[in-house]
């Protein structure tokens, strides 16, 4: 087990190098740089702009900028410096750290929401295969898969505006500061409902389809016939035997689901004005605040790898047949 974890973590290094290198290159293919907004202000001295270019290292070619950044990131003296945001003059990790909790909360709630809805639906669809319920749930699943998240987010905002049942985006109410801890909790929950549904719906469909297929495969297998022949009650056959076998591939899928949900959350955050990482990265990209973008990429890819690793560990725990050494 330990070797697997080390191997995975080592694999992170070339991947992060590749991703950050590509990202720097792409950002520099786009015309202009962070200082464009400053250049168009009427009362800015040209000398000052030059000094800022020097300060930010923007006068260097992009690959030099990349290697300078990289040499600061590599912890020679046990300290890794990911640079600071040009716009906020704040350390990149500090900036990302401020926004991370909101994104993680949204990812976790929508993941939980997706599983809680999708697993029972998938099981039911498998047990009552080819019934009306199965057909309708399939159609709905395909529909959900094909609606882009940002569009769903717009619909959700429209719904909130028309009914007034939910807040129009955001993470907390204006009066949040002045609330009791108890009300604070409910306020956040209230704000989370719509984004959670929007982010979760796409995953519900895919998880449900996978669950249904696996379940059907397992129902057809021989051990089910044996168990039935022995006279084991149908409920126990389904939930103790079939279910445990059928859920295996889903645990692997959860690792990926985490990453898709993370990227989905980014889009939804932008539309619903949700103060998470996506919101920050979007604006950083528009402003060409490059170290923020790189920092966020490093964080996102690391989370993806860790998510997959976690899924593999959970898989071994659920299925004693799986051994990694």
């Amino acid at each position: 087990m330990r070797t697997v974890i080390t191997r995975r973590l080592l694999a992170l290094i070339p991947m992060l190098l590749g991703i950050t290198f590509m990202a720097t290159m792409l950002m520099h293919l786009a015309p202009g740089d962070f200082l464009d907004q400053v250049r168009m202000q009427r009362d800015v001295d040209p000398d000052y702009i030059e000094r800022l270019e020097q300060e930010f290292g923007l006068h260097n070619p992009w690959y030099v900028q990349y290697f300078l950044w990289l040499s600061n990131v590599i912890p020679w003296d046990l300290r890794s410096d990911f640079g600071y945001s040009f716009h906020y003059k704040v350390d990149v990790w500090e900036l990302l750290g401020q926004r991370l909790p909101a994104t993680i909360i949204l990812s976790l709630t929508s993941l939980t929401f997706a599983w809680i809805i999708a697993i029972p639906l998938g099981v039911l669809a498998a047990i009552y295969k080819d019934s009306v319920f199965d057909r309708i749930s399939s159609i709905l699943a395909y529909a959900a898969l094909s609606i882009p998240e940002f569009f769903l987010a717009l619909l959700a905002l429209f719904f909130a505006a028309r009914t007034g049942l939910f807040p129009l985006g955001g993470f907390t109410s204006t009066e949040f500061e002045f609330m009791s801890p108890f009300r604070k909790f409910f306020d956040i929950v209230h704000h989370l409902v719509l984004p959670t549904i929007v982010v979760g719906i796409g995953s519900i469909a895919s998880i449900m389809r996978i669950m249904r297929a696996n379940f059907i495969d397992n129902i057809r297998s021989e051990y089910v016939t044996t168990a039935r022949a022995k006279g084991v009650p149908e409920g126990i056959v389904m939930f103790r035997h079939v279910f445990r076998n059928a859920i295996n591939p889903l645990i692997t899928a959860a690792g990926f689901a985490f990453s898709t949900i993370l990227s989905g959350a980014l889009m939804v955050e932008i539309v619903m004005n949700y103060p998470g990482i996506g919101h920050l990265v979007f604006h950083a990209l528009l402003q060409q605040d490059q170290f923020v973008v790189l920092g966020a990429l490093v964080m996102g890819s690391t989370m993806l790898i860790l998510g997959n690793l976690l899924a593999d560990i959970m898989l071994a725990w659920n299925d004693p047949r799986i051994r990694y050494d």
């Binding site: 250049r39 009427r42 800015v44 001295d45 906020y88 401020q98 500061e177 009300r183």
Partner: protein, 593 residues
């Protein structure tokens, strides 16, 4: 505890929980500290009001920093201005510089030396006294080589910094190397607290102080002299200001300002979201763009607000031709020689100006809510606007005859120059500005009537900026500038060596006589404190600009601002925010939530 007692406690807890849940909104209590007024407190001239209530605003921009040395954008500067005061203040209604942290000042006979008498007894919001040391420290920080900031150039004449000396605890003398016209206006820069920032100044980390992390983690570190201090800051969500308990202004009844208990600014996605929030009663004031006025007015009664028409805005929009005779590294001229000949011909530019239907632009693009623009200064800037400049009312016939006089000819309604080249050019502007793209489209139609073919290219902002300031190969552009009260702010546009002298930037020597004359006038107006004299010089600059049409001014949209009716002491100035005197405004009736 007996069982019975436990049951009672439990019941009480449930009850409290239910009440908190049921209440639609928590009652917000302010907890103001009470400190004696400083001995030199400034007394507001406006009628006294009542303390209390919350002023709410929404904003599409989030402050990026609370450090005045770092601030680059309007959102940051606005936030800083609420927290930190300067020696002087500009009163936009009186249109003059009024005392702030300095109670009064004397000007030496040679107009170069200013002695500021600081207000006595003023304290920072943490209770530390405000003294001459803070002022000296601020200028030391501004001029420090380690901390490049844009004030370095505002507070210098010909690269020479001002001399700042402490006379005693309450007196500071600032001497400029030459007479510097906008001195009193600019000297209102925020004064920094020496006791909080000196250490960071010494160890070279001053630029990393007072970031948004400070504001969200330890807002009490950002001490204030202004009306407010930061209570809390949540990135991308909101910012809550609370009154500075040591603020130096009071009303006639000796109550310390500001009146409001809290000022909340919510950060929203964009300006549209901000306007929707206002029109649905979620905020108290809001700037409104001309194209949105109609529907927002319809909600006015329901949410008890008024939409004020504030007349022309400070923003200017113009079209210009590239008159740069230079070549790029490959030796190709920026502009084809025969086109350069048209573009540098004053009559050609004037003809184009006569050919533009500005009223049509106003009606078509901003629903009639704007004014045609003839001068480089918007009429909103009443202090500096010159109404007597050359105007170009829409007259296609006159335009055509002007062109013919210059040797241009018409064949099948198309315009050709004397050498038989078809008159056509490409106009560039940035795509993210809808107003500009729309104006460009109308302009194309207008030019078609003159037989000129205009092709429109919409570029993204970075690309656009690169074209007009760096690569310089383009034919015509459409751009706008906003704000800028003092002529000094326009130096980079008017002077031939300026960076934003867009039609031919960064000239080592003025290329034409009229550009040389403008350079001379702009220098002259800088070297006197006499406003009348400055106005004379600057009026001539505006006249030359209007005659030469190097920048063909188009229109300026009107400004509209919405404000809830319950707010009193609102006194809208000609330009700038309606809540500029945020410390003096108060709510007549409490909002029942």
């Amino acid at each position: 505890m007996s069982k019975k007692q436990a049951a009672i406690v439990l019941r009480k807890t449930c009850l409290v929980a239910m009440i908190t849940l049921c209440a639609c909104s928590a009652e917000i209590e302010s907890e103001r500290e009470d400190h004696p007024l400083p001995e030199g407190a400034d007394v507001s001239e406006r009628p006294p009001g009542v303390r209390g209530d919350i002023l709410t605003g929404t904003s599409a921009g989030t402050p990026a920093t609370f450090n005045p040395l770092v601030s680059e954008d309007a959102s940051s500067s606005e936030a800083i201005a609420r927290i930190l005061d300067g020696l002087t203040r500009f009163d936009p209604v009186k249109e003059e510089v009024v005392p702030a942290l300095a109670e009064s000042w004397d000007i030496s006979d040679d107009s170069k030396s200013f002695t500021f008498h600081l207000r006595r007894g003023v304290r920072w919001s943490d209770g530390e006294p405000f003294t001459a040391d803070d002022v000296v420290f601020t200028f030391k920080a501004i001029y420090d080589e380690r901390y490049p900031n844009r004030m370095q150039m505002e507070f210098a004449v010909g690269g020479e910094p001002f001399e700042v000396e402490k006379i005693d605890e309450h007196t500071v003398r600032i001497t400029t190397p030459e007479v510097y016209a906008p001195f009193l206006l600019y000297i209102g820069t925020p004064i920094l607290p020496r006791h909080k920032l000196h250490e960071a100044y010494e160890d070279g980390t001053l630029m990393r102080q007072w970031t948004i992390s400070t504001a969200s983690g330890s807002p009490e570190e950002i001490v204030a002299t202004g009306p407010f201090r930061i209570r809390s800051f949540r990135p991308a969500q909101r910012m809550i200001y609370e009154p500075n308990p040591h603020y130096w202004r009071a009303d006639k009844e000796a109550r310390r300002l500001p009146y409001v208990d809290f000022f909340i600014e919510r950060f929203v996605q964009d300006q549209n979201a901000s306007m929707v929030a206002f029109a649905s009663g979620q905020s108290d004031h809001q700037g409104i763009t001309p194209d949105q006025v109609g529907w927002i007015r319809r909600n006015a009664e329901r949410h008890d607000y008024g939409v004020h028409d504030r007349g022309p805005s400070t923003s200017t929009n113009f079209i210009w031709f590239n008159q740069n005779p230079g070549k790029n590294e490959n030796g190709t001229p920026f502009v084809e020689p025969h086109k350069l000949e048209w573009f540098t011909n004053k009559k050609f530019r004037q003809a184009v100006s006569y050919g533009i239907d500005r009223q049509g632009l106003i009606d078509g693009v901003i629903f009639g809510r704007g004014e045609p623009l003839w001068s480089s200064v918007s009429p909103a800037n009443t202090q500096w606007y010159n109404p007597n400049v050359k105007t170009y009312p829409f007259d296609p016939d006159k335009a055509r005859s002007l062109l013919k006089e210059e040797g241009f000819q018409y064949r099948d309604g198309r315009l050709y120059d004397a050498d038989g080249n078809r008159v056509t050019f490409t106009l560039i502007t940035n795509e993210d500005n809808r107003l500009r793209a729309n104006m460009a489209t109308v302009f194309m139609e207008n030019m078609k009537d003159l037989g000129i073919e205009v092709r429109l290219r919409l570029l993204d902002f970075s690309n656009f900026v690169n074209r007009i300031t760096d690569s310089l190969s383009y034919e015509a552009g459409l751009l706008g500038f906003t704000g800028g009260r003092d002529p000094h702010g326009g130096m980079s546009i008017y002077s031939s060596g300026g960076r934003l002298h867009v039609w031919h930037p960064n000239q080592p020597e003025p290329a034409t006589e009229w550009e040389a004359r403008i350079d001379e006038l702009m220098q002259k107006q800088l070297l006197t404190l006499d406003e009348e004299e400055r106005r004379e010089y600057f009026n001539e600059v505006q006249y030359i600009m209007s005659e030469q049409m190097a920048l063909i001014y188009l229109i300026t949209p009107n400004t509209y601002e919405g404000m809830r009716n319950r707010w009193k002491n609102i006194d809208p100035p000609n330009m700038g925010s309606m809540i500029w005197n945020i410390d003096e405004i108060w709510a007549e009736q409490r909002l029942l939530r």
